[in-house]
């Protein structure tokens, strides 16, 4: 299937943004999201593509601030808020889409608590769609929602993952075997937060292997970098 021109441009914008986030995670550079909004896309109004890219990457856009590598930048927060408002989940949105949207609002609240109760992150979506699902599907869905794999977060999704460390580890192995590096990196990021992951998995070497094999894709590099930071944080 051929990608449309817009889809190709969006993929490129997401990868550029992921590259910036990786750079911020590694070196503490600021993202300057607001500047990217002024870039005019040839087909739409200024900033549309950049906003869509922010929505696709989700709360990971703010990961450098969440992990306190850089202080939250008010302009960046404003851009993320704009992306959240621009792409609300539709009535028939998938659970992963709902969770990702909720997580963006949740992250904004975490980094920029309001003076009053006017803004909330809304009701947390349920995790019932993961009850009793095969480990293959569980891992796939968690990997899609890898930006929610953060320390000290206690959502229904996190609890669902915590119940099944061996199954997520199996999914990691499956993703590596299939050379689905993005899924492997996302699953690996969840595994850094879970107790009960079998030692024989070799997670540390596995993450490096995923970075070596798939790290040319900045989205993969971002998840591996996040996983390694979470792992280092957990070890402290």
């Amino acid at each position: 299937m051929k990608q449309s021109g817009t889809s190709i441009r969006l993929t490129g914008a997401v990868q550029d943004l992921a590259t910036e986030v990786v750079s911020a995670l590694r070196g503490g550079d600021h993202l300057r999201l607001a500047e990217s909004l002024s870039v005019r896309d040839e087909t739409g109004p200024p900033g549309d593509l950049a906003l869509a890219a922010v929505r696709v990457l989700g709360p990971d856009v703010l990961l450098p601030a969440v992990l306190r590598i850089v202080p939250p930048d008010p302009d960046d927060l404003a851009v993320v808020r704009k992306a959240v408002d621009a792409f609300p989940p539709s009535a028939d949105a998938s659970p992963t889409s709902r969770w990702s949207h909720w997580a963006m609002r949740h992250t904004l609240l975490r980094l920029d608590p309001p003076l009053d109760d006017a803004r909330t992150d809304g009701t947390e979506p349920g995790a019932g769609w993961l009850d009793g699902v095969p480990w293959q599907f569980l891992t796939h869905q968690l990997a899609v929602l890898a930006p929610l794999a953060l320390p000290a977060d206690d959502s229904a999704l996190t609890r669902a993952a915590r119940h099944r460390p061996v199954d997520v580890a199996r999914g990691f192995v499956r993703a590596v075997r299939r050379r689905d590096w993005l899924q492997a990196a996302g699953a690996g990021r969840w595994l850094t937060l879970l107790d009960g992951v079998p030692d024989t998995l070799g997670l540390e070497g596995g993450l490096e292997f995923v970075a070596q094999m798939g790290g040319d894709d900045p989205r993969v590099a971002l998840q591996v970098q996040a996983a390694q930071l979470l792992r280092a944080g957990a070890a402290r």
Binding site: R170, R174, L201
Partner: protein, 306 residues
């Protein structure tokens, strides 16, 4: 839970195909020495090993057992010429372990060839035999066969487990096709081809219980039926077999109506002998997996609350 009937039927079909194509088990006495006379012995030894499992587990029907016994007699009397071909193979390559490895399951089933036994005992005393270069899993198998023959295994199996890939319980995502066969054969040797599941050291059994589901999933989707069948045997050798429903249904669906099991994806084309050489092994493995899994399913049934 996987239907025991489905599992059992795979083995019935496989033995029927093997019996109908028994002439495919053939040696080539006039083969080019560069190829080696012993190359064609392996299928005969594998046939004997699997038939032994079938008799031992006692879950085959009387017709299936009868066909297996006929197959064995055919292999011993006709293919091996009453064991004389094993002696000839031994004289062709005196230090090769292959004639001994092929002979052992026949001996356990009551066939005898004293001259080969004398050669096996002499080889066992030779440093050159102990030093014969082979992979750790093959060495493990040879030691297990020495024990079964009544000789002190050299070296003891306990010393060898840790040298195999499986014995070191490596990162499960580093497995690939050849490694997977080393894994299955390590399990076969440690359990005496499924007879003693307790022969698996507990860390190895735990490791397999954790990661085998991933490998089953993987090789099912790749339609590598030969390897999938061996992995289904491994499952049946674990303390708590899963009798993985998706894997068994895929495996059974790959089998042809005449009982033949393709090795990879679909049936190969070619001359009958060429086709036999490609699919005899997955079909034998299908019989092996079926007998082991049927036996374990019946054990589970016997222990289930009424």
């Amino acid at each position: 839970m996987t239907s025991t009937r489905l599992i059992h039927k795979v083995g019935v079909g496989a033995i029927e195909w093997l019996y109908a194509h028994r002439d495919g088990f053939r040696l080539e006495p006039d083969v080019d020495p560069e190829v080696g006379f012993l190359e064609r012995f392996k299928p005969v030894g594998e046939l004997a090993l699997i038939c032994k499992v079938l008799f031992r587990e006692g879950v085959a029907g009387s017709h299936q057992s009868h066909l297996a016994r006929e197959l064995l007699d055919h292999a011993w009397q006709h293919t091996l010429a009453g064991g004389r071909m094993l002696v000839r193979g031994q004289r062709t390559e005196p230090i090769s372990p292959i004639p001994f490895e092929v002979y052992l399951p026949f001996r356990e089933l009551g066939y005898s060839q004293p001259e080969l036994e004398r050669a096996a005992r002499l080889n066992h005393r030779l440093l050159g035999y102990a030093a014969f270069e082979m992979t750790p899993v093959r060495r493990l198998g040879l030691s297990a066969f020495q024990r079964r023959f009544g000789l002190p295994p050299q070296p003891p199996e306990a010393e060898l487990v840790g040298r195999t890939w499986l014995g070191r319980t490596p990162e499960p995502w580093t497995v690939e096709g050849h490694i997977a066969y080393a894994i299955t054969h390590t399990v076969f040797h440690l359990t005496d081809w499924g007879e003693r599941p307790e022969g698996l050291p507990p860390p190895v059994a735990d490791y397999l219980a954790t990661w085998l589901p991933v490998w089953l999933d993987d090789w099912l989707d790749l339609q590598r039926w030969d390897l999938l069948g061996e992995l289904l045997v491994v499952d049946a050798c674990l303390p708590r077999p899963t009798l993985d429903e998706r894997a068994w249904e895929g495996f059974a669906a790959a089998q042809r109506s005449d009982g033949a099991m393709p090795a990879l994806r679909t049936m190969p084309r070619g001359e009958p002998e060429e086709v036999f050489d490609v699919i005899y092994h997955p079909t034998l493995v299908a019989a092996f997996a079926s007998v082991m899994a049927t036996s374990r399913a019946l054990t589970q049934l016997a222990h289930a609350p009424a």
